[in-house]
């Protein structure tokens, strides 16, 4: 079973040379730490920066330079700043190659819910609806089950949707899955996790084809 860093590490392997990548808050943010050093990748943050670097050294933080998670950041050579309309022009116009974000629920047809629990949590969708509606390539990073032990990979989402039929791949603490026309295709098992355990934790239709390999991190 993977921890959050493990999930981030596995997702980092999906990042290819020349990609512009948008990372959501939470586990996705960790992905930046695991991207191979021999490839060129630029991180976009929807509040208006391309070419994000690491967090600043103490004392060097600048209130005017933050990421979408409101954390202080730095920029790398070749970076640029721009306004929000331009930023979402990048996103809506499919110029960002890969979007990685968290979710509360994903359905077997690729619907995603991650912004609202009626009567309870109302943080808002931020840029998530724009991101999932436009990205060609969306990977969801999340735990396979919620705190109550219930599956987050469902036949149908029960929470208000963020987007429909948009998720392509899911990496959880238990598995890597692809969203197909027939449901969740199990691609890889997390180290030490059995197909049966994944099956038990998946409410939506799980497709198992032949031997499912254990993921290599």
């Amino acid at each position: 079973m993977l921890d959050k860093n493990g999930i981030a590490k596995r997702i980092a392997k999906e990042v290819q040379d020349g990609y512009y990548v948008n990372l959501g808050i939470g586990i996705p943010t960790l992905v930046a730490n695991f991207v191979r050093e021999d490839i060129s990748v630029e991180f976009q943050s929807e509040n208006g920066v391309l070419g994000m670097g690491p967090f600043p050294f103490e004392g060097e933080e600048d209130a005017d330079i933050i990421n979408a998670g409101k954390q202080t950041i730095t920029t790398l050579p070749g970076a640029s700043f721009f306004d929000s309309a331009t930023s979402f022009g990048m996103i809506r116009g499919k110029h960002v190659d890969l979007t990685i974000l968290g979710a509360m629920e994903v359905s077997e047809n690729g619907d995603i819910a991650n912004w609202k629990i009626p009567g309870k949590m109302v943080k808002g969708m931020g840029g998530a609806m724009d991101l999932v509606a436009s990205a060609e390539n969306i990977i969801v990073a999340m735990m396979h089950t919620n705190r109550a032990g219930e599956s987050k990979l469902l036949k149908n989402c029960t929470l208000p949707l963020t987007g429909v039929e948009c998720v392509k791949k899911i990496v959880t603490n238990l598995a890597v899955l692809e969203v197909t026309n027939e449901g969740f295709l199990l691609l890889e098992r997390a180290p030490g996790v059995t197909v049966e355990e994944i099956q038990k934790a998946t409410e939506g239709n799980l497709i198992i084809k032949g031997d499912v390999p254990e993921m290599i991190l």
Binding site: V49, E58, K70, D83, S84, R92, V122, M125, M129, L161
Partner: protein, 232 residues
């Protein structure tokens, strides 16, 4: 050159009255018009509709207006950093229209650019689409979104000149340029106000035509919401 400079925040906010719709720049607490917000609080104006990506935190930014119950309705994309906001919203005291962030930016830009409506895929198939026209283009579904209508836009820039030309710094740019010219009156506060001709005409982020009033803010706290550092 057409002069835009006003004497200070008092003159800058002349004409703001109860029930108006205001746009406010900023992302989180980054690039917010601190001086305008502080003065709005003292004016005791009520029943406002505020279009702003976020709603500040409990004791800073738009949170100050929320605490004084000056806001009737918020139009935002993300409000997760503000307990008072969540309380007023869940209790029904505050009307809230949650809008995808890119749609919010584009609705401002459309208002500024004389585009009454446009199509976007964001929110299709979700509750954001309720009551909105949907249409297919090239095999994909889109929502029609209309431009915002606002009375005042409050914007924070880094440098500005007497002709109203603006330059922003870093990610404090965010929604600020999109809101310039998107309301009937655009009020800009800057950290540094310079004579016309001091800024390179090639490097203006927002031309002065989109700005009605400009002044130098008295102080800037520039609070950091999530100071995150690494060790050497």
């Amino acid at each position: 050159m057409i002069k835009k400079v006003v004497s200070g925040v008092h003159e800058a906010l002349e004409g703001v009255t109860d029930g108006m719709t205001l746009m406010l720049g900023g992302f989180g607490l980054c690039g917010i018009p601190e001086n305008c917000i502080a003065h709005l609080v003292t004016l005791n104006i009520k029943g406002l509709t505020c279009i702003s990506n976020n709603a500040g935190v409990d004791d800073f930014g738009l949170g100050l207006l929320l605490q004084k119950r000056q806001i009737r309705k918020m139009i935002s994309s993300y409000v997760g950093e503000n307990d008072e906001f969540e309380r007023q919203m869940l209790s029904g005291e505050l009307e809230v229209e949650l809008t995808p962030q890119g749609t919010l930016a584009e609705k401002c830009r459309a208002a500024k650019a004389g585009i009454p409506a446009f199509f976007t895929p964001a929110g299709y198939g979700t509750e954001v689409a309720k009551g909105k026209e949907t249409r297919e283009f090239n095999g994909k579904m889109y929502l029609m979104e209309e431009a915002y209508k606002a009375d005042f836009a409050f914007v924070k820039a880094w440098k500005g000149d007497e002709a109203g030309n603006l330059i922003f710094k870093g990610t404090a740019r965010n929604f600020n340029p999109c809101m310039c010219g998107a309301a009937k009156v655009t009020v800009v506060e800057v950290e540094e106000l310079v004579p016309a001709g001091s800024l390179d005409p090639n490097q203006i982020h927002v031309p002065g035509i989109f700005v009605n009033r400009i002044f130098k803010g008295e102080t800037y706290e520039k609070r950091i919401e999530k100071r995150t550092v690494r060790t050497k």
